[in-house]
Subunit: 505 residues, 2 copies
């Protein structure tokens, strides 16, 4: 490599390292704000986060950044770069092109709008008053459309939004994928409902002391491979995982004394996210590639851990003695079979975040269809509540009585995150594809889980997925692990086989 | 104010506001590191702190900063500035002049040296091996002398170090001040020792469950005016207070199950620091003036709270019922009188951080004399252990058996903090001056404390000292509160009067 090029690479690496430092600082400030920062300091704290975020944004669209990208993308230069630097150039270029084209005053207006809009949404949901949120949402949709015009798009304007969260995914891919998954899910749901078998879940509603729940959650986390020397478990209103660096990936949960399920499954879910980030390759630490490949790949790791491992019969066969030792009275009369069926109960419901594994994707499809129509100009914001209820009836067979339990339930739209929801179902689809590959590579992995041996599965995930961080794009990870492209068939098979067993279909 | 000047002021205010944002971020990262950040992420975290600190340093010595300072210091401009902006210019100018003159490679060498040296000190203390720390300390002294040459100094080279921590304080002020305080302290100590009255403190060594200690500490903190909606209490190896912003000022302590004293008095001490920062004036929030006026003024607030309030008879008269309710068995046979004498026991000892209120200042004077001699060229690092032991014998009448309990006990020198130690005694001196002023303004304040009424004292401190933050310089605060300049007589009077009572002299 020529001396000049070497120097540019060094400068670029150190420039982007500084960006990563800012990201980590912002993430710590955010974690702190959500886990116990005192109330009266939060206004000033938001200013600090805003200030650092602005600096980080400026670094991504600076003239210096443009020079780095231009000189490192040149033919003759790019070919000589190592794999990590290439990926850094790829990511920086993408971010630069998306961000620098938006006039800064337009962007500033949008930031102000979305921050107000989130408060408006909270109030509207609280008061079941869509009309008061409608004007905000209309403006957000307008701004989003203007951004899309500036960015440009291919085939469908929604594609450019999808690309933010899941590079390579388009409406042309999603439409048939989701149509297929929906048809099969609805058919399976119908079969379950026709079977008419009732599941008893009442024992989850007893009193479960929080300290015991915490100890049990920690026990499970350790067993599945979460490293407490590189993380910690705290409490927040909404559970989340945050990867500050691979040596510090934190989880939060919320303990409900009167429902055993919430904390344990949210902990396993966030544990899946966290184990991903704890095991990103050492050569990526301190680079902006030290994060998940995409929202969908990230979600595949949490869903795999929560559902395919954490709701499996083998998993609970292993943990059931520990659970009964911790909560002897609560589970005295509950057999492992009853317990297993109870954590896998299927029941169409109104709220996405409380949905079971089967109907969850139908909630996502409702949102996907509505977003696509809004952005494509086929639906007006004013018509959204009605359209929501129609879709819910069509896909899930239930209709909310209030907008609070319907169109107002999610925070995402209030900050303009259109294109985000599909990632959740993509995560489920990827997870099933990965699970099939795991079964191929380790046919006896379920027996290992049942014996409480999690390390082989974890190593497989580390080696096939985690270590790459954001070095590879989602489709490349999928191809390298499974040899295939995205395919909902594996998820359908998984769901059919699981519920055939759970419900004796 | 001319339009141009207004614009410069606005830009300067927003520039320094950004500096404050960085400071707050760095402080949160530091708090996090010391209160529970997972081990494996700490290396990367230190990089992040280093990265933000470098940015902050650069902002303080940038060409932009120089332009601000130059144009706002001009005659005709400075006079038009409001009080806050003037103080900002004053502080920025001071920092600029100190920092920009050090060649950046020299400074970089020094940063690397001190970071290695801290580790070397830890090892040396652990192994009682001064020789292995000596070479580091010699280099640190050398660098410090070079910096002093660059900065320049008046009268004594040590003055420029003092000025970093306590603006306005010089060797010419400290020498007679400390000589007087030492003579009187030694005389008082002698009187106490001749009195020969033994204090029973054995009851502090029983078992005090940590949860109870925590609840008691929180109870006391609330009572004395610490606002838990603008702060929190956590655990760390060494107690500290950190003011992120006045709405978020955090305290840490360490609970020792087998000694009741440590946590409660460290909590009250840090509480004093924290109440200061929680009550800095609103117009200073978000500026770099939103901190204590100096190390010494800060320490005056913690010492006042810990010693003059927290070790007073009235204080414990009020809290003794609560204490006995919390720990009935432990204090069953201990009268309030015994308790009061026990928390005010005087006993010359080897370790500064464990010293009582009277002998503490003698520890400081040992360090002051040695630092002054080192920096003045009258003492070589190699001769430090011997000089230390001689001074300890002379001032306190005790001699350490090992350097670990002697010259190696404090971390300060290992990171080059020469000039810092005097602040501790200045804090005690200021505190006694403030206490005399408080007694003049509120002659019945001790009775109020004895009734558990802390709010009048707190309001007085808020109004006379806290609200000014760093707006005023230490000597101006002292003058405005007491009408006098620094004077050790008040501390001497306070100590004489207290120990005459405690020891029936």
């Amino acid at each position: 490599m020529a001396k000049d090029l070497q120097t540019v690479v060094q400068q670029f690496r150190s420039y982007t390292r500084r960006m990563k430092d800012y990201s980590e600082a912002i993430a710590v400030l955010g974690w702190d704000l959500r886990t116990g920062a005192p109330k009266k300091g939060q206004g000033q704290r938001s200013e600090v986060i805003g200030s650092l975020s602005t600096e980080l944004f400026k670094m991504g669209v600076s003239a210096e950044m443009k020079e780095f990208i231009d000189s490192l993308s040149e033919t003759g230069a790019y070919e000589q770069l190592d794999e990590v630097t290439r990926a850094l150039v790829r990511e920086c270029k993408k971010e630069y092109e998306r961000s620098h084209s938006i006039p800064s005053d337009l962007y500033q207006e949008y930031v102000v709008l979305t921050s107000k809009s989130e408060t408006a949404w909270e109030e509207a949901r609280h008061n079941n008053d869509f009309a008061n949120f409608q004007t905000y949402l209309e403006k957000i949709v307008d701004y989003t459309k203007r951004f899309i015009e500036i960015w440009g798009y291919q085939e469908h304007p929604y594609n450019t939004l999808l690309d933010q969260y899941e590079p390579g995914i388009t409406v042309a891919i999603l439409d048939p994928l989701f149509a297929d998954l929906r048809a099969q899910s609805v058919a399976l749901l119908q079969a379950i409902q026709e079977r008419g078998r009732k599941t008893d879940t009442s024992f989850f509603g007893q009193r479960f002391p929080i300290d015991d729940q915490r100890r049990f959650s920690e026990h499970v986390l350790k067993k599945i491979g979460y490293d407490f020397e590189a993380g910690r478990l705290d409490v927040s209103a909404h559970p989340f995982a945050t990867g500050l660096n691979p040596g510090d990936v934190r989880i939060t949960t919320r303990f409900q004394e009167d429902d055993f399920r919430f904390a344990i499954f949210s902990t396993i879910h966030e544990g899946g996210h966290a184990i991903y980030e704890q095991n990103i390759g050492k050569e990526l630490v301190g680079t902006i590639l030290s994060e998940g490949a995409s929202m969908g790949i990230h979600e595949s790791q949490s869903r795999f851990m929560e559902n395919m491992i954490g709701r499996s019969f083998g998993f609970w066969t292993y943990f059931y003695d520990d659970l009964r030792n911790m909560f002897p009275a609560q589970f005295a009369d509950v057999s492992i079979d009853q317990f297993y069926r109870a954590v896998n109960q299927v029941e169409p419901s109104l709220i996405r975040t409380e949905a079971d594994e089967l109907t969850y994707n139908l909630h996502i499809m409702v949102r996907y269809e509505l977003e696509k129509a809004l952005i494509g100009g086929d639906l007006q914001v004013a018509d959204l509540p009605g359209a929501w209820n129609d879709k819910m009836k069509e896909y899930l067979g239930v209709v909310p009585q209030t907008d609070s339990d319907g169109v107002l339930q999610d925070v995402h739209w209030s900050f303009g995150a259109f294109g985000y929801f599909p990632s959740y179902s993509l995560g489920n689809i990827y997870a099933a594809q990965f699970e099939a590959a795991l079964r191929r590579d380790m046919p006896d992995y379920k027996e290992a889980i049942q014996r409480g041996e999690f390390s082989a599965v974890k190593s497989w995930l580390n080696d096939k997925i985690h270590k790459y961080g954001r070095l590879l794009e989602p489709k490349d990870i999928l191809a390298s692990v499974t040899g295939e492209s995205i395919d909902a068939r594996y998820l359908v098979n998984y769901l059919q086989s699981k519920y055939t067993e759970v419900y004796d279909l």
